[in-house]
């Protein structure tokens, strides 16, 4: 009797799980579907719900990447990769050192610093665009990867420090002390004992820096004004606001191209990510 009821319940939960799956996946699926369909099959009564071989086309990708009317794709990819990579490295290295100082040392001014890091995150970034623009302009760094990287690194750093601090806190100090007693130098103890335990935390934090830098477009709009300096989000926006066609097939192909690296990155790091997030959150 109980078993039957349990099985009925299982079926219901299965249905619920399916609904969650469908809702999560549908926009992604629809993006892929549209990107592989010719223009006359993505609208109206002719709508195709699956890119069957007879209608399947790569024209949208060709249009998105090589269409003459568009901003060029290859430099946008290179710029985005450059900015994202540099931001990620700077944010993690600099943020990690700061997190270390805030957790492994007690010094006066520490609390002030922590509060500042928290408060800084509450400032609406949109209000600082113009000042940031003038700094970057003053340094002659407009339209350069370095200029945009500086803006992004500073933008993600407070959150990075905040999260990493949680992770470093999560590794007991006694571990290092024990290692030091075993003859390690403080740096050596940290490097051999604590650092490996922090890998998930670094990954989790890195994901945020990565998404931020890959996605951001308002500062990019202001700092990267030449067509050859565009990043991918700016490139995608030229599609949506194009004065010519709103060619949804090409727009979706462009969206796919932007999403792919993020999905790949997520697949690589996923195992470490959630674990990291929990510990970080618990200690945060």
């Amino acid at each position: 009797m109980i078993k039957i009821r349990k099985r009925a319940a299982d079926a219901w939960f299965g249905v619920l799980a399916l609904i969650v799956f469908v809702f999560s996946v549908f926009p992604v699926y629809w993006m892929l579907n549209t990107s592989f369909l010719p223009n006359n099959r993505i609208r109206g009564e002719n709508l195709a719900f699956f890119p069957t071989p007879d209608v399947f086309t790569l024209n949208n990708y060709r249009a998105a990447m090589f269409g003459e009317a568009r901003a060029p794709f290859p430099p946008a990819v290179l710029n985005s990769i450059g900015v994202t990579f540099l931001t990620l490295v700077i944010a993690l290295v600099v943020g990690f050192l700061a997190a270390l100082a805030l957790t492994r040392f007690s010094f006066k001014g520490r609390r002030t610093f922590i509060v500042l890091i928290l408060v800084v995150q509450m400032i609406p970034g949109e209000a600082m665009i113009i000042s940031l623009f003038r700094i970057i302009d003053g340094w002659q760094l407009l339209n350069t990867i370095i200029g945009l990287t500086l803006v992004y690194s500073a933008g993600v750093l407070p959150f990075t420090i905040w999260t990493l601090r949680g992770f470093v806190n999560g590794v007991p100090k006694e571990l290092e002390e024990a290692a030091m007693i075993d003859g390690c130098s403080p740096a050596g103890a940290f490097w051999r004992v604590t650092f490996p335990l922090l890998a998930p935390g670094l990954v989790a934090t890195g994901v945020f820096a990565f998404i931020q830098a890959w996605n951001e477009f308002v500062m990019a709009l202001v700092v990267m004004q030449r067509p050859e300096a565009m990043t991918l989000p700016l490139w995608l926006r030229t599609f949506v606001q194009a004065t010519q066609a709103t060619n949804w097939g090409a727009v979706m192909a462009a969206a796919v191209l932007i999403a792919i690296p993020v999905v790949v990155f997520f697949l690589i790091v996923q195992g470490r990510m959630t674990g990291g997030l929990v510990s970080g959150a618990v200690k945060g």
Binding site: F13, G14, L16, A17, V20, V22, F23, S24, V25, V28, W30, M31, L47, V93, V94, L97, A98, A101, L102, F105, F107, R110, I114, L118, V120, M122, P124, E126, A127, M128, I130, S131, R134, L150, S153, A154, G155, L157, P158, F167, V171, P172, E177, I181, P186, P200, N215, L236, V240, Q241, V251, I258, V262, V263, F266, G271, L277, V278, A281, V282
Partner: protein, 344 residues
Amino acid sequence: MPAVGARPGLSSQVSKGSTSEGRLSGRQDMSSVLQKPPAPTRQLIRQKRRPSYLPWLLLSASMILVGVMTGYPVVRLLVMSFQEYERAQLMGQPAEWVGLDNYATVLTDVEGFWTVLARSFALMVVLVVTTLVLGMLVALLMIRIGKGMRLLVSVGLLLAWAMPSLAATTVWGWVFDTQYGVVNNLLTAITGDRWFGHSWLLNPWSFFLILTCIVVWGAVPFVAFTLYAGLTQIPEEVMEAAQLDGASAFQRFRLIQVPYVRSIITVLVILSMIWDLKLFTQVFVLQDIGGDRELTNTIGVYVYQMGMAQGHYGLASAIGVIFVIVMLAISYPYVRRTLREEEL
């Protein structure tokens, strides 16, 4: 095996670490007695003599970066909020000091500033509650279902999570497109009425409905994964014992699961609050696709429009300052709690 299957990495590693710690400290006791007396002493001394400039050295890079790239703009923000600063000033004309005029203009603008602020907060509450509730439900569901289904759900959530928000908003805009969107197409097929040409973004209510869909869709995976990882750490015996004691599913949820992940929930709420209040990309892009800016502005977009689009940098700065003050007031309890913890 996607995200969820993996055990929460750090915690298991930490517990491994704790055992080794036990081992090490055991040895310490012994060694301090006899075996290697000089080593620990030297180490301990060195530790005590850690130079006081070391933490500042470690902090220097971030202090320079944040100080220059955030500190200076913040100072400028404050200065500009007391000036009449428009496009002409950007071209080098000297700015005029206007005292508190900008603040007065903003604070008396009921139809503009206050409406936008209220709207942003209402939206934030809806978004945070919806995200947290749905996230919790999905996390509970993932515990309840079998391995195969869990893999399926995880894949779906991971895809939604990984979609960059700009791309995601564009895709949702296409799904709800007025003329050719699949939603209007399906509604026409199902209801038999003519839905082609129905604009979802024009009406502010359905605009915010779609906005909520987009944000929640993108935010639930993070919440669900995090809560799931937290819930799986509850020892199985505890849940079983409760069940044997006759606790209903809801009682177990309320009395065991929620308290166990309470600290996670707190952090998720704080993070979601900050993120949702500062929401920008989704609103900005949806307004581009269609939608009445005046009736759908949230604080971030409003500041952008005031400054970048209309060139009133003084007013935009004043709004920024006021917003930070409001945020500080709201988060004061959290800041204080954090500080108390720091004292320990």
